[in-house]
Subunit: 343 residues, 2 copies
């Protein structure tokens, strides 16, 4: 038996090593919510919510006030009935990152209870994955320097933030390419371009002989027609991130043939919708990457377990814990530079 | 560790209590394949393939000759990496019921290994489900008599086979309705009607004040436009069964808005595609039922565990073990008339 006895909501404050700049947004740190889910037999499941107002519309200051509601809903339920708990948490649309954290904590406790790892409960598809690391928006020189350092550290997939200044973005890509030939590039405009700017960017990069492996969310999140326009007018695979929060968003993207790639983030979708998106995308032959918000190692562990278990992802952008300052590493996985291995 | 040491293919022969007659097909019994998957630590996982030439195109006489290929592919793999094994078995398109049996045996061994039940590994959504029972094609009198008996035995969902003779089928529905008012009806034409016949049948039944809860596979399996025509011209929810074998079939049905319901059968889809279909249908708000071929209690156990675990089904048509003659009941569930409970 794995009945839930108590659930603790613990607010945490993390700082970035340096401010993280993406299109139209700069963050100095993140207020996250840690979930500790205690079973009657003493097992504890851990989860973390790293909220995003920009993407999810959720407000972190509301989280502590949700504790008693979540406890009311879940105490006494058994983690061996985890889909019942998933269904309950699916309704908490005001706080999708909290849904994700609680759903994961339930799987974490279930796995502990049966002496397995979450990645095994989810299918144990891979033993190892490799993450990219992200170069935030900065001067051309600083961005190229950072990319070069990452390449020298062994990162063979580099994520590059663009979307504020088309002309500079093209210069950035040229400068980064010069110092990291052989790397794969995930280029993320975070909704910053108009469709025409997005197409111009892709064509300019292509004529320079530079390949982009994933061209992420070039246009506004609600502009599905725009995404599709970019997809059909760009030589690079186009991914939805902000446009793909729920399973319903992804079904629409599939029906409209709007994208080549979807970026799954547990903080947008929770475990329940993320599992549905994996199955739908695998069926529709849309490729997948997995990303993060500003999770610490506790929260990144969630995505690592999900990625190892489902084996569904071509690219892994699980680097926020490498950018935040933490007292101790708390992931249930082994990290060696870009390589992430199951424990 | 749960490494696979051996896999046994055991042919079994079952007889029906009485010949089972559906549209354009009569069966006296079934040759099934039992799978026993032995782990290095002594755990055994059980699965069963109940083949269907009519639906899947597979031939049971080929199954024994597949044993060495399946062993070559799987021996030495760990059931804790069950998605890797699912992916391997997904390629065995010549024998989808064998794929189902092996995939389930892997989950069965994994569950045993960690001291849980398969329905818990899959989410533990329900503690109990209720099955219908099927009235095969016979004279109007015999079909009504059988429906009455089922109703008196407590079955509140009755599946009725039609599709060979439109006029008689209408009489059958009238006669059954008279003796089982309050029951829910799943009416299955097993591809027997033309679209116009199917629409005529539905309208005639409707004008008699009889409600059909699911109107299953009225037209030929490849006729998706025909299914859609019936859906939009029938007052009853239309289901795909023969038209919905793989996850790809169901994606097409969703894209074309062709059906209200899908009938998942593990023998068509295996665990892997069945899980994908659950997620897709839940997203597209298509309702689900789960059915069977001619499984014994070993094979029905697979669908029971799947249905309890995912909790995805409005109707359960898991009655073949109640129609076959078996020496002993071998399901890992409790049955009490129509009620099926988790152990």
């Amino acid at each position: 038996m794995g009945k839930i006895k108590d659930i603790k909501f613990i607010m945490k404050e993390y700082q970035y090593e340096k401010p993280f700049h993406i299109a139209n947004s700069i963050s100095a740190g993140s207020q996250n919510l840690e979930i500790q889910l205690l079973l009657e037999n003493g097992v504890i499941g851990y989860g973390e919510a790293a909220p995003s107002y920009r993407v999810n519309g959720e407000r972190v200051e509301t989280f502590p006030s949700l504790e008693s509601f979540v406890k009311e809903q879940l105490i006494g339920l058994d983690v061996r009935n985890y889909r019942r708990i998933f269904d309950i948490m699916d309704k908490l649309k005001c706080a999708s990152s909290v849904k994700a954290a609680v759903q994961f904590a339930v799987l974490d406790a279930f796995a502990e209870e049966v002496g397995a790892q979450v990645h095994q409960i989810l299918g144990g598809a891979k033993d190892e994955i490799e993450t990219d690391k992200t170069v935030g928006i900065d001067t051309v020189e600083n961005m190229a320097k950072e990319a070069q350092q990452l390449f020298e550290l062994g990162f063979r997939a580099i994520k590059i933030k663009v979307g504020e200044d088309l002309k500079k973005d093209i210069q950035v890509m040229e400068a980064i390419y010069e110092v990291s030939k052989g790397a794969k590039y995930v280029v993320d405009a975070n909704t910053g371009y108009t469709p025409k700017e997005a197409i111009t960017f892709a064509k300019e990069i292509y004529t320079r002989g530079i390949d982009i492996d994933v061209y992420e969310q070039p246009v506004q999140m609600e502009n599905i027609e725009g995404l599709k326009l970019v997809r059909y007018n760009s030589p690079f695979p186009v991914a939805a991130d902000e446009s793909a929060r729920t399973r319903y968003d992804v079904l629409r993207l599939i029906k409209e043939d709007a994208v080549d790639f979807v970026n799954i983030k547990l903080m947008k979708s929770g475990i329940s919708d993320a599992l549905a998106i994996v199955e739908m995308a695998n069926t529709a032959k849309i490729q997948l990457m997995i990303g993060c918000m500003s999770e610490s190692s506790v929260g990144i562990n969630q995505s690592v377990q999900f990625a190892l278990g489902t084996g569904a992802f071509v690219f892994h952008d699980l680097d926020s814990h490498l950018m935040l300052i933490e007292d101790e590493f708390r992931g249930k996985f082994l990290q060696d530079g870009p390589k992430i291995r199951a424990k």
